[in-house]
Subunit: 342 residues, 4 copies
Amino acid sequence: MIKVGIVGGTGYTGVELLRLLVRHSGVELVVITSRSEAGRAVADMYPNLRGYTDLCFTVPDQAALKACDLVFFATPNGIAMQQAPALLAAGVRVIDLAADFRIRDISIWQHWYGMEHACPELVKEAIYGLPELFRKDIAKARLVANPGCYPTAVTLGFLPLLKTGKASLDSLVADCKSGVSGAGRGANAAMLMAETGESFKAYAVAGHRHQPEISQNLARALGEEVKLTFVPHLLPMIRGIYATLYARVGGDVDLQQLYEQTYADEPFVDVMPAGSHPETRSVRGGNMCRIALHRPENGDMVIILSVIDNLVKGAAGQAVQNMNLMFGMEESAGLDLVGLLP
Amino acid sequence: MIKVGIVGGTGYTGVELLRLLVRHSGVELVVITSRSEAGRAVADMYPNLRGYTDLCFTVPDQAALKACDLVFFATPNGIAMQQAPALLAAGVRVIDLAADFRIRDISIWQHWYGMEHACPELVKEAIYGLPELFRKDIAKARLVANPGCYPTAVTLGFLPLLKTGKASLDSLVADCKSGVSGAGRGANAAMLMAETGESFKAYAVAGHRHQPEISQNLARALGEEVKLTFVPHLLPMIRGIYATLYARVGGDVDLQQLYEQTYADEPFVDVMPAGSHPETRSVRGGNMCRIALHRPENGDMVIILSVIDNLVKGAAGQAVQNMNLMFGMEESAGLDLVGLLP
Amino acid sequence: MIKVGIVGGTGYTGVELLRLLVRHSGVELVVITSRSEAGRAVADMYPNLRGYTDLCFTVPDQAALKACDLVFFATPNGIAMQQAPALLAAGVRVIDLAADFRIRDISIWQHWYGMEHACPELVKEAIYGLPELFRKDIAKARLVANPGCYPTAVTLGFLPLLKTGKASLDSLVADCKSGVSGAGRGANAAMLMAETGESFKAYAVAGHRHQPEISQNLARALGEEVKLTFVPHLLPMIRGIYATLYARVGGDVDLQQLYEQTYADEPFVDVMPAGSHPETRSVRGGNMCRIALHRPENGDMVIILSVIDNLVKGAAGQAVQNMNLMFGMEESAGLDLVGLLP
Amino acid sequence: MIKVGIVGGTGYTGVELLRLLVRHSGVELVVITSRSEAGRAVADMYPNLRGYTDLCFTVPDQAALKACDLVFFATPNGIAMQQAPALLAAGVRVIDLAADFRIRDISIWQHWYGMEHACPELVKEAIYGLPELFRKDIAKARLVANPGCYPTAVTLGFLPLLKTGKASLDSLVADCKSGVSGAGRGANAAMLMAETGESFKAYAVAGHRHQPEISQNLARALGEEVKLTFVPHLLPMIRGIYATLYARVGGDVDLQQLYEQTYADEPFVDVMPAGSHPETRSVRGGNMCRIALHRPENGDMVIILSVIDNLVKGAAGQAVQNMNLMFGMEESAGLDLVGLLP
């Protein structure tokens, strides 16, 4: 049993971590902090947890966190980089579910996140927590940067194709759609149900923070830069990310076989049969990424459909998967979650 | 053409007033105020109005408002009572869509709304703007208190039955359900789509401000007090109020005929055939109140189903209906709105 | 490991049983029948199950079913009563998720279900599968009638109060609301999303099949008949039942304490703190029934709020709970399901 | 007043035509046919129309239809081509809301619609009812082929850009999303709310009937073939189409100015300010097409966002617009419909 703490557990990634960890047999959850909700029972704020935990939110307390084996940061951007150094120095391992350690080029990070980075040297050390790419490094990491939700779906969807060398890297398109829980639990009039229900729109077409993260992932794997157009949209539903990916390919390649082989041993990537249309609900509440491949009329446009639950494989579930790797537990421990359908 | 102003037009009752007034041939909309959005084009904030109005929000300006024939207050509770006296003194008529003038007993109002009333003497003068009850008074009114959404649906549903004298007045139940737009457009984490979508709950079971308003309506019409249990619920949808009303009756009474006769000449109350189940979508965007009557197995329990669009007959539409009456226009002018189905 | 079969696994109670059983360590799922989908992989029809089961639907085959220790019927009404006798005779135990064995008075059953009963003698033997009432009988049963969804929520909500003898039994009201999955997966234009989304309505106000089932439950527990008005409504969401229960009480009784004591040892009934407002999402995907009690202004009307997931505690989860009891397994085995929130 | 008939008025395009026509001052609706609902009052099936029409559905009757000035076909594909010739011969004008007359190449039509065309000669005569392209021809037409919903949004969005000659025509992408009402009112298990709510998916990626229609529109306007990848998706909401269009451009072009000029005089195309993100709700229930243009980092990828209400500008509203043109009425008569927001 490892001792685990959560900093900032009142948002959606926080409650989702709780949902997963209270059922995880290898974990003892010992502390969860929230300045605003200190003293309140977790199960009072999140009644789905009634009967599963007696924990109360506490004010952040370094001693309590330093007594943990692992601390998750489910905080807004810019918090983990302040607090992680001291925890690491105390021998605590850290998984940041925010973006503080995701972008390796500090100037790019500072441009997109609008603040100065507090510990650039740790960015170098941090391992990007996408197990399908960096499983071995994660297992040895002190500090894991848990990937963004869009980057998880897009990277897993695009990579096997791009690695063939047969796709044009100068005109990739990722038309992505996310449920509203991706915007978090902050009080924001734009995310009211009366604003987002029964409607659909693109947002941030001029530029979104997940674009440099995706581009970095692809460039690292390919060894060269790509030109990616990324358009996020807001879906009138709560959970789920859908990435519709477009790439032009030249020449023959059996993509179906390639993807099936690439992900054959992955516990959380499911390549569906040729011609499938994955649905977000098939992964609702689960840690799976489902992928399907299309090449209409065997032309030069390949379409890849990639779906995840943004709060699970796109956040808390992937964090637990990383935790399992870091502590030598079964990679899928606590993640036997069948998608909730209907 | 009457000159009309709106104070506080950025909320949902404000935009709904705009939707109705920009198409109303007897109205010239001359000013709409908002301290927070002053200078911004209305159609920039509400793109559905693009092409229908060039008006911009302005800072509240007494001179501009005093030049109007009518001013609507689409403000939070407590604002109209501050500003209405000066406007009335200047000869402007006023319709308050908030609750400042709805409750005739000042102490009850102050108890439920948690503030001191700024002009109790105007409460006496104010006419309760339910045309089906007070049409003649409204026509002559300087100041109209536009009814609450729940009170509109419940009062229209209950009254004809209760007036028969055959129902027990000591155990009335109004089990009511509202779409989320009833909570307004304020930034409130509890009303995020991720909080209210795909879920359902009762709220304020211990007591809700609309209860004294409903009780007052019934008592005024009946000449005696009633005992009403009122339980509001929040629906995972945007528009619509559904009131399921329960009353015990003794003796025979042809309720279907009674209701049909009572409302025969009402342009905005529709008594459906016996055995009907009204749907909120049948009144979505329209000013109709649809009512259906049930008496299972001809027993002693009568069930009345009453539906409205909370933003139209429950707010802005009823306000326009009142305006039409006050200025001698056709009562249904600007209100030829077929429910948006599907 | 017990061997389990499912007859009619293509509907929502079927897929929900599968979701629960594929993760149940004490169960080997050996056969699932569907005439219409015979030959098709279960995971092809329900992609959330990809990776969890390789089973294919098969044509109903008595031999395969008779080799099971337990057979679930997730079929339309009227099927289980045809097939259960032969299975029972072969020593197989049976849980029927439909209504064939729920109503003890055959004439009442035949009136509401519109067909002749095929095996009235088994109705006498069948145990009504509400563990909170009949746990010991269930443990010894050959044949369990799994309760309806509304009856589960209403019975658990009403019973402790009614047993005090202080409530009027002649004017009980159950105003109930259900998500659309309660209507099943049949092709039915009235249940299209374009018909049921963003709208709300009561239905079957004149009479609903679950009313005699609820009345029977209450009368059996109380030893006298009750007069219950039951009005079901359709919610624009997928999962969840909300029962708002009204009863008039005379005299003092500490209901909060009573309910907490009554359900203290129940693994799947959660009495919330006084003044709570349960939400359906707090039980989404889980087997919990959450109950809260209100008595506004300490008057004579008590309001009980009771919520379940109609597909779990209202169907498949309760069936698994019954299975656990019948086979001496831990009652909550396979049911460690935290509600999916948000 | 022109006399108008509707064949097949029970589907969503039918009820939407009714919603528009009952308020249209230049139209007398004289007959609406439906074999399945003959004898039933229209307002009984569609209660939003109660008070607006007393019409009943009738069995199809050639004499009644031939007495009309105009007949709308709101029927499934393949019906209008059977009945239009006789009506045209009788001097009745016809607008087909289905696809029978949209595709000029009969073999392509027969390939995609899977039936033999009944009157290929009329296909030549039929005018494609997109007023922004063919206004003058429509005004003189006997037979109008009302465009598909996706083709309306995509064609209006793409055309001005493509006509500049600066976009690559070999890699156009139209990533489109539609509300569920686009699938019609047929009983279809795949379109149940429990199947489509709270989920999202692409469909028909291998090929969709609207692709040849879009390609035809673009090719006719450009004088050369284009290569278009079209991927439709299903949104968990009722009304609205969102087209996210991608094209690579070379060289400078002030697209914002170009689009504003192109559509300056169009009553139903609204080019939003640069950088806007249109929402489907801004056109809900209205006949507007809203378009916004993006060119991130002034690169070579242009993104065009185009939204309509699939039942209005994508079907019934456009049909009324065509009717107005055909009969010399004000083009926007009966179409003063502000989008229903929220």
